[in-house]
Symmetry: C2
Subunit: 555 residues, 2 copies
């Protein structure tokens, strides 16, 4: 079942010709969840995004599936319980994306420390209790010596103890795309780079569809839909305010910045979750990933523009200070920062709380007078439940109109690539696919890495071997590119480098060698003109300069 630029053209044709039951604006993880839920119920579901899938917030998170341990300090137990239990659901339905692992929270005797040894133990106990964590993954506390043995790079001074606890690593963009691919399998009609520019109204002044714009061709067309749901994340207010509808501002995003360094420069063995040590009531994650280490995040109010939020010198100084404070003998400078990203948390205004770190990060659903439904806020990990909540509102509207659809329990729907026989032993799955990869000429490590990245879809990836061999690049990259073009609706090199793979973020050193052959492949497969190629080449160069923080570096 292919899902490519050709599929997209067919889908746009279908949008023009058929009336949908439900149209989702926004192909981030929230919209993806709604699309899967809808399509699985045989609801005629459409989804569009003005950028690529996960192009906004959903590819710019800390890339964990976590329950929000920190919110327990505010006794926000419901949010944490809901979200933390969803970790298990995602781990089961997408073992190739979310994998359980022990993370370490060191406890320092320091001014403004979030937790001391005792409260750390209580909060980790509560976290496990709320998440209903299995005994085998229960948290445990260790003394200072054990912390340093596990993570010798941590600063020794003022270190008191540490807690090991379960959380899940993740790739946010992959989570979004595998959800969307599954929605596609169930029949959802999906297109990236299609923007909602205005609404269509019936004579009751109720929304009956949208005016859409193909952002690649600039063509405008109408999409009719019984219900339109706005899942545009930080752009939710912009969607709500199309033309006449002037509604109050609800979204007050904050920016979160992450940096990537070579693992040698910040050698850690597992995810570390720690106070910044700056007495600012904030905590940061430091996460090893392949031969890189990344860390973040900041949390500062952000006013826009929302596309590619800028990283500032203050962001760099803030995170470097925190890291250099927390780790012994580590003196990172801006020149060590290989890659970076900045994302926006789609926070909903809470009039009772002006401190962004203090806001509880729940989600909300509001219905406009013209029938527009907006689902906003929420945590990445919670996206499946957010879709359930959205359908509570949507089903209510259908009930009034005497329309009904099948029911579904999305808890038991594996995402695309996630249908492995024993999700709890994903390593066994990887090993079972090793030979198939090495037979094609991949190293064992490459084969394992592809099985890990694509899950059960790795079989389809390997089916692309003939096409892949026509590309002038290493086989592993070529297989990924061929699969992205044919099965993951990659339309631009950045789609491939930033969201179908993590090359731009975690292997930016490979970009120079891959850039030209990838552009060649896109040119050929998508029938680009010379101007097209020049445009996307420039776009990619700009993005690389930005990602590598070139403007901040010195010689």
């Amino acid at each position: 079942m292919t899902w490519s630029a050709r599929t997209r053209s067919e889908n746009i044709k279908s949008f023009k010709e058929n009336k949908l039951d439900l149209l989702i604006i926004g192909g981030g993880v929230t919209g993806a969840g709604v699309a899967l839920h809808g399509a699985a119920r045989n609801i005629q579901t459409g989804l569009i995004d003005m950028q690529d899938f996960a192009g906004g917030t959903s590819s710019r998170s800390t890339k964990l599936v976590h329950g929000g341990l920190r919110y327990l300090k505010q006794f926000d137990v419901e949010l944490v319980a809901d979200v933390a239990k969803e970790r298990t659901v995602i781990g089961k339905n997408a073992p190739h994306i979310a994998q359980p692992s022990y993370m370490l929270m060191p406890v320092y005797d320091e001014t403004g420390a979030s937790f001391n040894k005792f409260t750390a133990e209580v909060v980790l106990h509560l976290y496990d209790y709320l998440a209903e964590v299995d005994e085998e993954w229960a948290h445990y506390m260790v003394e200072k010596e054990e912390v340093l043995k596990a993570e010798p790079s941590l600063k020794e001074a003022d270190l008191n103890a540490g807690g090991f606890y379960l959380d899940y690593t993740n790739d946010d963009a992959r989570l979004t795309i595998e959800t969307i691919k599954k929605a596609h399998e169930y029949g959802a009609i999906i297109a990236n780079y299609v923007k909602a520019v205005d609404f269509l109204y019936d004579d009751q002044k109720q929304i009956k569809g949208i005016i859409a714009k193909d952002m690649l061709t600039e063509e405008e067309f109408e999409i009719e839909a019984g219900i339109v749901i706005n899942a545009a994340g930080p752009w939710s207010d912009e969607v709500r305010n199309h033309k006449d509808a002037q509604t109050e501002q609800k979204m007050f995003p904050t920016k979160g910045v992450h940096f990537v360094v070579s693992h040698d420069k910040l050698p850690i063995n597992r995810t570390i979750y720690t106070d910044t040590g700056q007495d600012d009531n904030r905590m940061i994650f430091v996460i090893p990933r392949g031969n890189k280490t990344y860390f973040g995040t900041t949390d500062t109010p952000f006013e826009g523009p929302y596309e590619d939020p800028e990283i500032t010198e203050e962001d760099i100084d803030y995170l470097l200070k925190a890291i250099n404070h927390r780790f012994e003998g580590i003196h990172l400078t801006v020149n060590d920062l290989e890659s970076s990203w900045a994302g926006l948390r789609p926070l909903i205004q809470d009039e009772n709380n002006s401190d962004p770190s203090g806001i509880s990060r729940g989600h909300d659903i509001f219905v406009e007078e013209d029938g527009l439904i907006t689902i906003a806020g929420g945590k990445l990990t919670d996206y499946r439940r957010m879709a359930e909540d959205a359908f509570r509102v949507i089903d209510e509207k259908w009930k009034e109109a005497s329309i009904s659809f099948d029911s579904v329990d999305t808890k038991s729907i594996p995402l695309s690539g996630g249908d492995v026989s024993d999700p709890n032993n994903f390593q066994a799955f990887i090993e079972s696919k090793r030979e198939k990869g090495t037979a094609l000429g991949l190293t064992e490590e490459e084969a394992d890495s592809l099985a890990d990245w694509y899950g059960t879809n790795v079989d389809t990836v390997y089916e692309m071997v003939d096409k892949a061999k026509s590309y002038d690049m290493p086989l592993k990259d070529a297989l990924q590119l061929a699969y992205a073009l044919e099965h993951e609706m990659a339309l631009t090199p950045e789609d491939f480098f930033a969201r179908r793979t993590d090359t731009l973020l975690f292997a930016i050193d490979k970009m120079e060698a891959l850039k030209e052959p990838v552009l060649d492949a896109f040119e050929k497969e998508l029938n680009w003109s010379k101007e097209d190629r020049e445009f996307w080449n420039q776009q990619l160069n700009d993005r690389m300069a930005e990602t590598s923080l070139q403007q901040f570096k010195y010689n």
Copy 2:
């Protein structure tokens, strides 16, 4: 071992003649704890109180030994863990005072509700976890129907669920007096109605004692002591500010009011801990006790005077509104309020928090330049640990002076009357003493009640039978009076009615019949003049009028 007005005269003589190692100002539960800890270590310890023991805060609490469940909403887990674990210690060392029982927290769907069904369950789980509660006393949640079956008086509307959880009933004044009696057994020199009016200084401007005043004779005298510790509760600042020492205000007490009604008027089967339902972020206790029910408390800043804080019409309106809101078909008016008390929480200023209900109620110890140590704040339940903390500071001072004393673990010292063989089966103890009581002419119920009230001291109570029979009142009351005079240093009728027994608060209807014979007995035993008798008669009448809220009642 008697402990009476005669003992007090001997003790005052001893104060004049001997230098103490340690003098405690304040015979509330805090001072009592310090006295027991000190005396048990063979430290020459003295204790004075300007009123009766427990005459201030320590006889005016909600009369529970509880861990502060509510503070968990602020994730104040350390305070709760410390305090909740002390419940067990008190239950073991004073089973005649603190007894475990299931209390009920109903959960309402109401604006401003502290907890919903889920957060209630989490907070009760956390409470048990922090207190290390045995499985047999673990909390459990029940549905609405079960709540109403257990407590049919509760309002049904908006009721959602309920949680049963362990806490301990208590009598605060008895806890204080049994602690002081134990300190006396260990050799502490103790006197009520002796006030510290000024300090004595050595040539290093260090406090070396106090000028004391016998409040009954107005005689002033000196007490020398190596260390003076101020445990005067709300009066701590007043003690600190004697004469020259002008120090900043630290105590910002809040007033807490309680009312007693006939159990028929508010028929409940167990302690209920509930929101006020007034959307004010406050919770109240409603507690059955014999044939009465009492409820409270308010929490309002109070500026003084600190002796007998006044109850206002607002206090009455506030609590009646909360009770009448929460219970079905209950329409209490001020005329139903049989008795009342108002106490002051000795809160230490927390500059970061202006909301009295939001202040964490920990304790603090501060040392003045002149050597005065003040221990203030804290929760009743935590008094034993507060004494331990005080001695950390005191021992530090002694260490500097190369003085050392025995060590002690007060966890394993039963209070006076508490040395029963199996504290976990106190009912068996009560039954074992039944026959001894009935042999004297008491009913079984009376005998049980005395064993319950006095614990192992009930044997001494029964030894007072000849003296008791000389008083013109029912035998049970007469035994209590004889014991209070001979073994509990009761000096005034109010000492007897309000703090050696709970007659004034929970059996005010018996006061009219008992008043004259009790005054007769005091007159005889303490060699009162006619003027003395008239003075204490008037004092008691005033107190009864105040306690019964006469000025607020209508015909």
